[in-house]
Symmetry: D2
Subunit: 214 residues, 4 copies
């Protein structure tokens, strides 16, 4: 049995829950088919600890694919991130009280890594199913981008293990009183069941426009 | 058996569906308890026809409560409208091809009517249940506001029949490619099952702040 | 010499300035022509006091036209308000510490008043000059709407004295760190010099679409 | 006399003007001091041509600093871009009719370059002056990002020649009818006069938080 590693984060920024973990947790043990099952792990919202947890999980599971998920309050759709940058700039302290500013994720690492997931094909499969999704070109400069960069760096010599990052909107209960968009966790779970098989089966990504003007 | 009249609109503005009718339709025949059941009717997205349909339905059903529902693309939460204004200004033509500009809904009618629903209590019940909801102070100047105003005007002499208007976000499949918020129709249905009993049972509205600065 | 009364507010909500007064102040004494000049007055951001100040200024000046201006943080353009509602619901306390909830502005007053300014013609003149402007259908439920409603109520028996309310965006220095739109005070001043003559000269408003769908 | 090269773009996407060139044009020949003057050049909104024009201008002027400017409709503030990515994905065709999808800017180039301008110090100088500004972490995937990446690639061996990219909001006349933020070109010009000397004089960037969570 092969594993897909799915990670979600613990709550941060004063929130009581984190929909990224609520969604990943529901899929822990889910079998895509006879050969592949999902293993879900929660990451700390800490710059240092999260990278170690990711490394440990990858070493232990030897996954065929890794998708890290994070909450992006204010986004309106599922956002598959294209690029992880070697840059940390924390607007608020992480859950360990650290607030690094103007740092690299990996000293001497390249400026950026692109995801190795076929994210256009994944986005397309979700749109076909009526679920709002898009490609995003910034994962921010906080723990999400750090985990994404660390993930791509850890797997830089094993390109066959596809990896990437998904930003998801607030859960509805988090959006109350904020006047921002939200998406039920059940819809995120349904989306993951749809797009992960697409990720496994697409040998090349689709050639369709998914860009932004600025 | 008493009736609650629930109305939703047909699609307009180039959309294939209208979540207001999809939600209302699911609740047609739903019984709140032994004495009250919902009757749902679809309204045309036409300035003239919709008012007649509403009048016919009210005459036929003699409802104890009326809630008209409409789609408000771009909104992030369920919006209970406070005020209907005696003003029509159509940015696009209605489904009958009419585009009235700077007209009244009812000649010699008052400038506005307030809803008679306990909308703060309804909003509060939804927030408690984790569903984003708020009071809104403009229903626009298109068919939604016209139906809302016509509804309050038709019931102006029977204040015991509470009535109001609910604006709902796009359904997720409508939001694809638009980068705007959405809410699944199932969540709207769940919200209606929660807040309609509150509307029936609240003799007075709650005294909690729900205003906007501008 | 006839007077146009222009009012702006003092700062509120933790802001250091209020662009509505900064703009009005610059136009105090400005002559539109040989017969009409602007007189500007600052209003307190207090529900009670502001209404008295407005009444006193109108009694003293006997103006031919009144435009009250207020800051609407987050708006992207100059918004000429269509309708004032007889409703107060304060999300935050006013500058006198009062936070009325679910109150009327005028007991037994009508639900709403429409502006008597030719706001479509005014908006049109600004757009022609390259200045973003629009008609708005809610002035909120705070001090701005209260002043607007009180203004229309005070002048209800003198329809020849046209009156209305203009909401303006943050000044640029207020928008710093908020990621919201702003408009320089100089542009607001230029806009007022353009649209106030239009207001005086238009016997009827323009018949052009300026509505919103929801 | 040393040169600062300032570039702006021709109009695109159906617009009649491009505020990036309107601002740059006003500063052509402007002397920061006795030793440094600005030279402004217009770039075509074409993927191929713009890179050539940039190369030609740099070869001709041998500038001490290069700032490319582009219009970012919908942004609310001046956005100094942190990172240029080696990726092109055109949502609309460029002005030469080309719409490349999923291409690199430079074959075998690194995934990304960071700006070499002290952008935090530049942002800080503008905020101090009351002008909304921020660091941005995506320049999109259209001609702006392409020019930015090409610029950093062309100067990769001459790090003393600092270079970067500035995205600016719509001019007010472009925002009419769009309900989006805008900024007068004069304010952009004033901002450039303030932040370009800061860029020349700062040997290191400021260590202040300017990150985004997602």
């Amino acid at each position: 049995m092969h594993s897909i590693l799915l990670t979600g984060f613990e709550p941060f920024g004063g929130e009581q829950t984190n929909p990224s973990w609520l969604a990943a947790q529901q899929l822990d043990g889910y079998q895509l088919d006879d050969e592949v099952q999902i293993v879900s792990r929660q990451l700390s919202c800490e710059f240092e600890q999260s990278q170690q947890q990711l490394k440990t999980a990858i070493a232990e599971l030897n996954p065929v694919l890794v998708l890290a998920i994070g909450q992006a309050g204010g986004r309106t759709e599922l956002c598959f991130e294209k690029v992880a940058i070697n840059f940390i700039d924390a607007r608020i302290a992480d859950n360990a009280g650290q607030q690094p500013i103007d740092k690299t994720v990996v000293t001497e690492g390249p400026a950026a890594y692109f995801t190795t997931l076929p994210i256009k094909a994944m986005v397309n499969s979700l749109k076909q199913a009526g679920i709002p999704a898009a490609v995003s070109y910034t994962a921010g400069t906080y723990v999400c981008n750090t985990v994404f960069y660390a993930l791509m760096h850890q797997l830089r010599d094993t390109p066959k293990v596809r990896a990437g990052f998904l930003h998801i909107p607030y859960a509805p209960e988090q959006a109350i009183g904020k006047s921002v968009a939200s998406m039920p966790v059940d819809m995120v779970v349904r989306a993951l069941k749809l797009c992960l098989p697409v990720a496994l089966q697409s040998s090349e990504d689709m050639q369709i426009a998914a860009g932004t003007l600025d």
